[in-house]
């Protein structure tokens, strides 16, 4: 029987992070993953991450995956792919399906980082081909280069639903609407705004009545729901779609831990059945650790830190480091984790309506109810200022843990401060040079450059653009408002692409002067 100091199940963000920490402390570590490619969900996440530098902010998920893999290999971690762990037996024995047989492994410590599986909802016709999970859509588009469908309806306004809707648009699909039974958008407002300005309508307090079609989905009917989640008669709306995408939350994939005999609990705050564990990821069975979504649903950034903490703790458990080193290192990581767990979307605020920002500014209710900020709500936020010449406008209106824009500006005209959840503010004493680094660095694509005195009667709006085909300079089209509706004619006056922008192109459009604060997207055809 092969034996390791540490066996890790799952080569996603938390598993790899744990492996790196443990191996760097001298442990003999193996990571098993059932997939053909490592990285877990990271390789499907093509958006730029939030957070700050220590959280790898503004780096795209799949790039973080590549970085982690490289680090793991440099640390001497063995990563075994296409290796399905089929059971965790007594005495920390792991049986793995590899190739044409099974192999038995034992380790002095085991770390389970199996992640999560998608929740589902039932409605008439939900078993029809064409009804898929949001994860399926991501897998098909971003791993296998295939569109899940041509016309898609998304159910779920959490970050997954919002991000995947944007990815669907990037892949060239049409998203006919985003539906959620909740009365408010669940995910980040900036993610919602990104798809709203592309013209995706939001239907909050709505849910799916039925998927239509006999052999596969040909349409969908949604309807409004009241406070008790009962359909409001007469509110039905029909859409012709070929795909219905479900993004209604995740559940920890904790079956291995249950099989191993770890004490479990049903914890709705953590997303379902989770092992009872301490702040270091130690379960009720000495030597069995957990990290990432399997111990409670969060997101990849916190999974990576959780993984680091558990990896360090496993090293201490087996005497590779002393208690003091463990506590010091874990403390650093916990600070980073605490940084991510702040703001309006902090775990403690889950499900609550936060009416004011930390700065005391009323939040945009339109953003919560329709996915975009209303014109008359915009001016109250500190990222919005006006002056002659080019200057940034930051439509970042919720306290989320993110600060790359602050570092991006070579002139330091964007201020967030120590607390990374603070809203970005413009330092009006500094002159913007119009480099666009802030626009490209904003993971929420919420920063625009405005030149309100571009030409007599015209303003220039520079916006982030991640679609193909890329418009050409001189091309004439239309400016779209934050709601995705045409507000004016527009001319593309500049298209900037740069390596430093990391595939976020900067599109500058010329619009009538009074549209400077209204036009936020460009489309060639009306």
């Amino acid at each position: 029987m092969k034996r390791f100091d540490l066996i890790i199940v799952g080569a996603g963000p938390s598993g790899l992070s744990a492996a790196i920490e443990a191996a760097n402390r001298g442990m003999n570590v193996v990571v098993f993953d059932e997939n053909e490619k490592p990285g877990g969900q990271l390789f499907k996440q093509i958006h730029k991450f939030f957070g700050s530098k220590e959280h790898k902010a503004k780096v795209r998920g799949f790039v973080i995956g590549e970085q982690l893999l490289k680090e793991a290999s440099e640390a001497g971690v063995t990563v075994v792919l296409n290796a399905t762990v089929i059971g965790l037996y007594q005495d920390k024995e792991v049986v793995v399906k590899i190739g044409d047989g099974v192999e038995h492994y034992k380790a002095d410590s085991v770390l389970i980082a199996t992640g999560a599986s998608e929740n589902m909802v039932t409605f008439e016709g939900w078993t029809l081909p064409g009804v898929i999970g949001a994860g399926a859509a991501q897998t098909m588009m971003n791993l296998h280069g295939i569109k899940p469908g041509q016309k898609v309806l998304m159910l779920g306004s959490g970050n997954v639903g919002l991000v995947v809707s944007f990815q669907l648009l990037q892949a060239g699909c049409e998203v006919v609407g985003l539906v959620d039974a909740a009365p408010r958008v669940g995910g980040y407002g900036v993610h919602a705004a990104k798809i709203a300005r592309c013209g995706v309508p939001f239907y909050l307090s709505h849910t799916i009545v039925k998927a239509e079609g006999t052999d596969c989905v040909t349409g969908v009917t949604i309807a409004q729901v009241d406070k008790n989640f009962q359909f409001v008669e007469g509110s039905e709306k029909h859409f012709d779609v070929d795909t219905i995408c479900l993004a209604v939350g995740l559940s920890p994939m904790s079956q291995l831990l249950k099989m191993a005999g770890c004490k479990m609990e049903d914890n709705p705050k953590r997303g379902g059945q989770v092992p009872i564990c301490d702040e270091f990821g130690a379960t009720s069975i000495p030597g069995i650790f957990v990290a990432g979504d399997v111990s409670g649903i969060e997101e990849a950034s916190s999974a990576m830190i959780g993984g680091r903490i558990a990896g360090i703790t496993a090293a201490q458990y087996l005497g590779f480091i002393d208690k003091e080193e463990q506590l010091t290192k874990c403390e650093e990581n916990k600070k980073a984790l605490d940084g991510l767990r702040q703001g309006m979307f902090a775990p403690k605020n889950r499900g609550k309506l936060v009416e004011k920002t930390e700065e005391g500014i009323p939040v945009s209710m339109n953003l919560l109810e329709k996915g975009f900020i209303a014109n008359d709500e915009m001016e109250r936020f500190p990222g919005v200022t006006h002056k002659a010449g080019v200057h940034p406008v930051m439509e970042c209106t919720q306290n989320i843990p993110c600060n790359p824009c602050q570092d991006a500006c070579p002139k330091h005209c964007i201020k967030i401060g120590e607390k990374i959840t603070s809203l970005p503010a413009v330092d009006e004493s500094v002159d913007c040079i119009g480099c666009g680094m802030c626009v490209a660095s904003c993971s929420g694509q919420a920063i625009f450059l405005l030149d309100e005195t571009y030409e007599e009667g015209f303003a220039a709006v520079t916006l982030p653009y991640e679609f193909l085909p890329l418009p050409k300079e001189g091309e004439k089209g239309y400016g779209l408002g934050r709601d995705g509706k045409v507000v004016c004619e527009a001319e593309v006056v500049q298209v900037k692409t740069a390596k430093a922008f990391d595939h976020t192109n900067l599109l500058t459009i010329k619009v009538p002067a009074d549209m400077a604060m209204k036009a936020r997207f460009y489309k060639k055809e009306a």
């Binding site: 059971g87 037996y89 007594q90 024995e93 049986v95 099974v102 038995h104 099989m259 191993a260 005999g261 069975i285």
Partner: protein, 375 residues
């Protein structure tokens, strides 16, 4: 009223549930106390589903024959739950001469008791089940044997008993039976006390500890069994299969999946550290065993493995008996892994004991006090 009934049954397995059902049919009030959170979570849900007569101890054979003749065929209808009973025979397979000798011995004994069972050659085996490998050189064949679904049969008795007004309490852990003025009529659990005219103790191996509280013991052992379940396959055969070597047993269910039990050989020494008892080496071993007999199943996917315990009595047959020294107590345990097939008739017999009626079948071989020293 609340904690009182004519009969208190300790153990909500198939024996307890069947007994409760037959008692309730006699208008007897019954309370069933089950330690686990789920009904039938012991051996009742963890067995191969065999409804066999062949291969049984001659002392037990009359019970099995009675159940097959008079009870199993109508059970689904009676309970209103499909127990998936198939009476399409049992093949006990042999691959070596030695196997055939074992099978011949079993067959001779069963025939002597009047069971229709006979030895057949490889050709005949293939005719009955064309999927078996060429390694099989002979078998014993009992056409009236079969199999049923232990899960739905157990829950079927439960459902039917409950519908007749039997009160079931789950999570009720019995710690003692108490004699009051010489009569066993009180059952003490961790939180409650129940009283009844009769107490039927049918909780598998756990019966031993409970019986000890009134000074009674049955020599038995708690032995692990493991089994595996495949995905649904196209229908292949309906017989129950076993082997002379006892390396596996099982059948294909109505659902299409195969359920096969087997052993690694270390079951009696199994370590149970309180987490989960399946051993990492058993399922692969069962797979190898099956493939030798049914090569076509090599591609079938295993979706589940499970383990359970059986209460193996010292002489391989159960105790089904009133306890002379403890008036009021009736004991039913030590079913040794073949209690499922006879559960309906045992339930019926226990209901007769519980109402002081003449039993349909003679139970003298099943007395609790039959265990004597060897010399």
């Amino acid at each position: 009223m609340g904690n009182t009934a004519d009969v208190i049954i300790i153990g909500g397995g198939i024996i307890g549930c069947a007994t409760a059902y037959y008692l309730a049919k006699k208008n007897v009030s019954v309370i069933v106390l089950e330690k686990d959170k789920s009904i039938g979570n012991g051996g009742s849900s963890r067995n191969g589903g065999g409804v066999r007569q062949s291969g049984r101890d001659p002392r037990e054979l009359p019970l099995a024959m009675y159940a097959v003749e008079h009870m199993w065929p109508t059970l689904s209808e009676e309970l209103g739950v499909d127990v998936e009973y198939h009476k399409e025979g049992n093949l006990r397979l042999g691959k070596t001469k030695k196997h055939l000798e074992i099978l011949q011995g079993l067959t001779d004994k069963a025939q002597a008791c009047g069971l229709k069972v006979n030895m057949i050659d490889a050709n005949e085996v293939k005719r009955i089940n064309p999927y078996l490998s060429d390694e099989v050189i002979g078998a014993s064949w009992c056409p009236t044997d079969g199999h049923a679904n232990p899960l739905t049969a157990t829950l079927g008795f439960y459902k039917a008993a409950r519908a007749l007004g039997v009160r079931f309490y789950t999570g009720e852990d019995v710690i003692a039976i108490k004699k009051i003025k010489g009569i066993a009529n009180t059952v003490v659990t961790k939180k409650n006390v129940y009283t009844g005219g009769k107490i039927i103790l049918a909780s598998g191996y756990a019966s031993r500890k409970i019986a000890a509280t009134v000074g009674i013991d049955v020599p038995m052992q708690n032995v692990l069994i493991e089994a595996l379940v495949t995905e649904a396959e196209p229908k292949m055969f309906n017989q129950m299969l076993g082997t002379a070597d006892a390396d596996f047993y099982g059948h294909q269910t109505n659902h299409g999946s195969f359920v096969f039990g087997g052993a690694s050989g270390y079951e009696e020494m199994n370590k149970d550290d309180g987490t989960q008892p399946t051993s990492s080496i058993t399922a692969p071993c069962i797979c190898r065993g099956i493939m030798k007999y049914i090569p076509k199943l090599a591609d079938a996917k295993i979706v589940r493995t499970w383990a359970g315990y059986e209460d193996v009595s010292a002489d391989g047959i159960p105790v089904i008996s009133k306890i002379d020294e403890v008036p009021g107590l009736i004991l039913a345990c030590g079913f040794t892994g073949h209690g499922f097939g006879i559960a309906p008739v045992v339930g019926k017999l226990l209901s007769e004991l519980g109402t002081d009626q003449q039993t349909t079948l003679d139970l003298k071989e099943f007395r609790y006090d039959r265990f004597k020293a060897v010399i």
